[in-house]
Symmetry: C2
Subunit: 761 residues, 2 copies
């Protein structure tokens, strides 16, 4: 845990240059716009420790799988988020001395991420080897208004000298992935050009043949006027193109480089038009100019904040934390493009390779449902619908037949690309989360038509998987599900994981409901689905009903708790308090077998199920299970605390809820798990949002109405947020005195506050 | 399965050259002498598919572990059997045409492995591009009399020409391992020299710094006389030294190269004496000459065969099969060097990396106990005694304390070097096999002193491991053992594997007996052990007794069977007959999760326990378990069928016993599992021996006497074998009429035949 970020309501602030935290800051101060993202690397050269990272949405590379021992069924490739061409580079030399923060004295260093307006500001005074002092200020953003434009204002002011300087302004596709399995480079040059004032490189990924064209243009002003240069050289080498400019720097006079970058991918343009279209984007950017581009960008951010801000009174650190979570989520996924999804690290790092996990459905969807237009959440669902054929292929690779679908643990294009058998082959509850998201979406939006249009097909595929994955236990005279890994990945290959069994039968029930709905809603559409999926309705639904009726769920009736899996009570039942501090985190201190046979829980498992299906259980059952499992939960997954916050809030365990809220809200800002340098925990940020809205705010949707059961944590004065709900926008403020609601737009509606119906208009 | 090896009682014969089976033959026709081994690669150049392999006992390289996802506790390195310098090379060019069997017409090709005398013979007639026909005959052996000498008689006879020829005779340390994790070469040159008639290279392994000096000298005869050369050139390059000889080949006249190689390792010589000693060995070899060396070698083999041959009347294929197994075992491990052990592939391939598995204790020990001097088996035990400190370190890496020892799954030097968590961390029953081997050795030899000298310390370490590895189940009010993998590796991370629980408590009991014995036998020695191991006798033995008393064993009382693990009866209980042929072998056709949740068994598990501890169970219990488990066993481990043969024989299931015997006896000769090209299944060969002796012969040792309960498989007329037992040698012949025994040496003794005591003298 670190504590170097200054607290502020709207800004993330780092003061003073510390190379040891530089890679952490590179993650925290990342900027993006849903189409691309950029770690907070320096524009100028930096020979210190850095994780350079630019990312372009949807562009990936299937790196050959690396394992110690191959097992049949492993995916041959692991699709990886690609480190994309560098568009930020501006190298500076003064009197032939390179400006490199690892090699000069750095003072007044300051990095600010302005979340309100969505830009990164960095300033410092560097003293070069010969004593020359220069002040640099750089401001950059990835335009939220124009998804393919990045812009930089890079200002240079000599403090104590007048001298010749060289600026190298370039784009560079000669980049590597740190996590490359075989130290391969993934990009090849397709095209490049460089002329005075402009440079363009088109690179393609090996194997996947994505083309990315990265272009830049620039203008340079000196003391507010167009600068004059001694000379401009064209610089080209493999996968690299730029200009090298020689000019004079005059003491106390500011020279400003405005660099405009255009990043276009073949996902959005015909390959043969990329260069042409890149030039148009560059022309547009440079003709608008930096200030105008920024204004348009800022406007989008203002609008976004109106939609999804949470304000907290009385706790600046909490305010900064929640805004940081919302800010990073928003710049990762805008919902404009149904081909995209939300990677665990977003555009802030390479780790966890593929882009999509069940995190999206289980943790992110509620955020987008409540803070964005309906279309945004719908696109997340359609993304999975489009992957259905691949999910059927994935299942077939594991021996499933007749249209059974297994959604992948990690994916870019629907194909599985994870390679631990206990996860890939066995952590199949993910399939249930895909189904649950359909339910969650329909419940929130009332958009039942979605079932007819897309949902039912997905549900049929998943239900078929469950029906084949269970087996009949002659001994128990019940269905069982053997050899699975639940959400708690600190157990592997267990039998009858309560959560997995529960979400499996839930899926079957919901699919039966969906079948009935679609039949009535649009019988022609239903017939089309039957034909397309080859559904043998009578036979298959009968089987599903049989499984629903005769599924086995492990429980301990004596204690009144559901058992995480068969045999759980044979463990030595300790609590987290029994652990020595030096044993934490377990995953870094204990061998895997020790973790597996211990009772300690990485992330909510039975409790995840009680959270999803709370209406099926009484408060007492939830309490008993929470009291049983919470003390054993080490929360070593960033996805865990939010579920506990929500349940603790429901149970009135306010202190526990707040304690766990703290764990999630400033996870990255304070580098809680000592891994922020790899990138931010993007998907769990939605869990932080849920902690506030569903936890403290007690928001639920029932019978098409918003229900609140709110309280204010003792440490806060009040908090407020805004919800999109079925065409309305509701502002909610919760204080110790109660709840204030205001309908900002849309027709009057009923809400339910602590079981009391309130009309708002 | 293939069937190209000709059946013969003493020889393994391949006729006709088929490049597609060349790598299989390279494995099958391997030669060795316990100090080194050599695959049946060609002396001349060969540009076709080949797995070149020379191996030197005890020389390994810790290749950096390669996994997809690192888990805490993984060993950083995987010690690998090293492909060692090539000593067989003799390249032949005739009129500047290379002799390369991949590039010329090959006729009359024949490979013979003469098992009786222990040599490889290869002959063929090659037609070169220009029509020249040349006959080649090569005979080679690794001397059993002089472990550091290899010798080759390489004969060249022009059939239809007289021409100039060039012979390159060399040693070459520029070799690679096919299984290198990162395509690294593991050898570096330390020294080389080459002069007329001699070449020497010393190479060292990276990291481990083993030195291996490989030298060669040669003589060449033409038509029976010392040949005259046109010229001899010295050839040297990195890690390579040799002579290039130009000479005349005359039609119909035989030119013979006698190549003598000396392979010395720093395991047996001071590094600074290696070259000097190599020269002495070369001098000795060349002064003795090929025929004399061969005579000495053959004599050792004759003696070996006297010790361990099994003769079978009435079934040539079975005779060839059993001899092949004995031959390969014998040339893998001679028992002369307690630092060595028996790798699963012996000196015939690289696969399975490390040299020692639990195979040695569970499968190989009985063979050496019965066919070699007591010292040989004892050395196998002492090998593990010497690794005890490393076993304690291995356990400590997994969190065990206070002298608990976990022997490795795979090792060269006592350190664990396997890296699948479900095996390395969880397949801990191996620890029990180490303890069982001590018991097995003492039972067979009566050498109880071994307990005092070495055995008890090992038993204490292993018992401590078990005592820490179990935990108390409050629910069961019994001890349980969670998260293990049993011998049946088609189950992972199971709870209460019956075999593991059984061997764990058995170890504790045997350790208590050993404590009592040593105390009485030598109280001073006992005190020394207590001091060295810091044994808290009262406290620790009390704990062990408590575990013995209160251990939980899964069983189904209704069916009268022990359960392989908790929950086994929840599986869909199918039999192997229910499997479609296209599903076999499961490990190549099914995904891992499917294998895991199926009932199918890779290798004997409960039955392994019943075999080890048969005296603790009545015949009916054994029968019920055999009848339950045998039909589910796919025997996809080469180690499985032998245990089933022994139990089936005991139960009178003669047909089943013979069927499973066939599976093990010709496994490699007929390439049953389609993997012989990787090397031979050396350790399971001892299982084949056991199938005959303990299965058909029904041999047991009880109360210090040999017990037989023999029968003759219907397909055979008779079989005979010889046993070493407590200073005696007994010849046994079993016919349909009964058993004939003869005491070849040693004092008179009683044996028990079908419960009847017989005196033999």
């Amino acid at each position: 845990m670190k504590n170097y970020i200054k607290h502020h309501e709207w800004n993330i602030i780092e003061e003073g240059f510390d190379p040891h935290v530089n890679q952490i800051s590179e993650s925290i101060f990342s900027i993006g716009n849903g189409r691309m993202g950029q770690r907070a690397n320096f524009e100028e050269e930096y020979s210190g420790e850095t994780l350079r990272g630019s990312y372009v949405a949807g562009v990936y590379y299937p790196d050959k799988t690396r394992v110690g021992w191959w097992k049949n069924g492993y995916p041959e490739y692991f699709a990886k988020v690609l480190n994309a061409p560098n568009w930020i580079g501006i190298h500076v030399s003064i009197d032939n001395q390179k400006l490199d923060l690892a090699k000069c004295k750095v003072e007044e260093f300051r990095r600010i991420l302005n979340m309100r307006s969505g830009y990164l500001l960095r300033s410092f005074v560097a003293t070069l080897g010969d004593g020359k002092k220069v002040k640099i200020e750089s401001k950059r953003f990835c335009s939220m208004a124009h998804g393919e434009i990045g812009a930089i204002r890079y200002s240079i002011t000599p403090i104590n000298f007048t001298a010749k300087a060289t600026l190298s302004i370039y784009v560079d596709a000669d980049v590597v992935n740190k996590d490359s399995n075989y130290d391969e480079k993934f990009w090849e040059e397709v095209y490049k050009e460089a002329s005075e004032g402009r440079a363009i490189v088109t690179a393609q990924t090996k194997k996947t043949f994505f083309h990315v064209t990265t272009g830049m243009t620039y203008t340079i002003e000196s003391a507010g006027k167009k600068a004059t240069f001694d000379r401009v050289n064209i610089e080209q080498r493999e996968k690299f193109a730029g200009n090298v400019i020689q000019l004079d720097l005059e003491q106390d006079k500011e020279t400003v480089v405005y660099k405009y970058a255009a990043i276009l991918s073949s996902e959005n343009h015909p390959k043969d038009k990329l260069v042409e279209n890149c030039k148009s984007v560059l022309d547009e950017a440079s003709s608008k100019g930096f200030d105008k581009l920024f204004e348009e960008h800022e406007k989008v951010w203002f609008h976004k904040w109106e939609e999804c801000d949470i304000t907290i009174e009385g706790d600046v650190a909490a305010q900064q934390g929640i805004r940081f979570n919302i800010f990073q989520l928003t710049q990762t996924y805008t919902g404009d493009d149904e081909r995209l999804n939300i990677g665990p690290k977003g555009f802030t790092g390479e780790k966890y390779g593929g882009s999509t996990y069940w995190d999206t459905e289980a943790y992110c969807l509620p955020f987008y449902l409540a803070t964005a237009e309906q279309q945004v959440a719908r696109n997340l669902l359609v993304y999975r619908y489009k992957h259905l054929p691949k999910a059927i292929e994935n299942a077939a690779k594991l021996g499933f037949t007749e249209g059974a679908a297994l959604y992948p643990m990690v994916t870019m294009n629907g194909e599985e690309c994870h390679n631990e058998w206990e996860i890939t082959f066995e952590e199949i509850h993910r399939n249930g989360a895909i189904a649950y998201a359909i339910f969650d979406y329909v419940r929130y939006t009332g958009d039942e038509k979605y079932l007819t249009e897309y949902g039912l097909e997905v549900l049929i595929g998943i239900s078929r998987f469950w029906a084949q994955r269970v087996n009949w236990s002659a001994r128990k005279n019940q269905y069982v599900m053997l050899g699975v890994t639940g959400p708690n990945e600190y157990e592997n290959n267990v039998n009858n994981n309560w959560y997995t069994n529960t979400i499996a039968t839930w899926t079957l029930k919901y699919t039966l409901e969906a079948v009935d709905f679609v039949k009535k809603d649009d019988s022609q559409a239903y017939q089309n689905i039957v034909k397309k999926t080859k559904l043998k309705e009578e036979e298959e639904t009968a089987k599903w009903r049989d499984i629903i009726d005769k599924m086995y769920y492990p429980e301990d009736k004596h204690q009144g708790v559901f058992l995480q899996q068969d045999g759980f009570l044979d463990k030595e039942l300790l609590t987290v308090k029994d652990l020595r501090p030096e044993d934490r985190p377990l995953n870094q201190k204990w061998s895997w077998d020790r973790i597996l046979r211990s009772c300690f829980i990485k992330q909510a498992d039975v409790l995840q199920g009680l959270y999803f299906f709370e209406d099926n259980f009484d408060q007492e059952t939830i309490r008993k299970n929470f009291d049983f499992y919470e003390p054993m939960t080490v929360h070593e997954s960033s996805l865990s605390p939010c579920v506990h916050v929500i349940l603790a809030s429901k149970l009135g365990y306010k202190q526990k809820a707040y304690e766990l809220y703290l764990r999630t809200a400033r996870l990255d800002l304070d580098d809680y798990n000592n891994d922020t340098e790899d990138g931010l925990h993007i998907t769990s940020m939605a869990g932080t949002w849920m902690s506030v809205i569903k936890g403290f705010g007690g928001l639920r949707v029932k019978d098409g109405r918003l229900h609140f059961n709110p309280y204010v944590p003792d440490q806060w004065k009040s908090y407020s947020f805004r919800l999109e709900f079925r065409g309305r926008v509701v502002k909610v403020k919760i204080t110790t005195d109660g709840i204030e609601t205001k309908l900002e737009s849309g027709s009057p509606m009923e809400i339910v506050v602590k079981d009391e119906v309130v009309k708002i208009s």
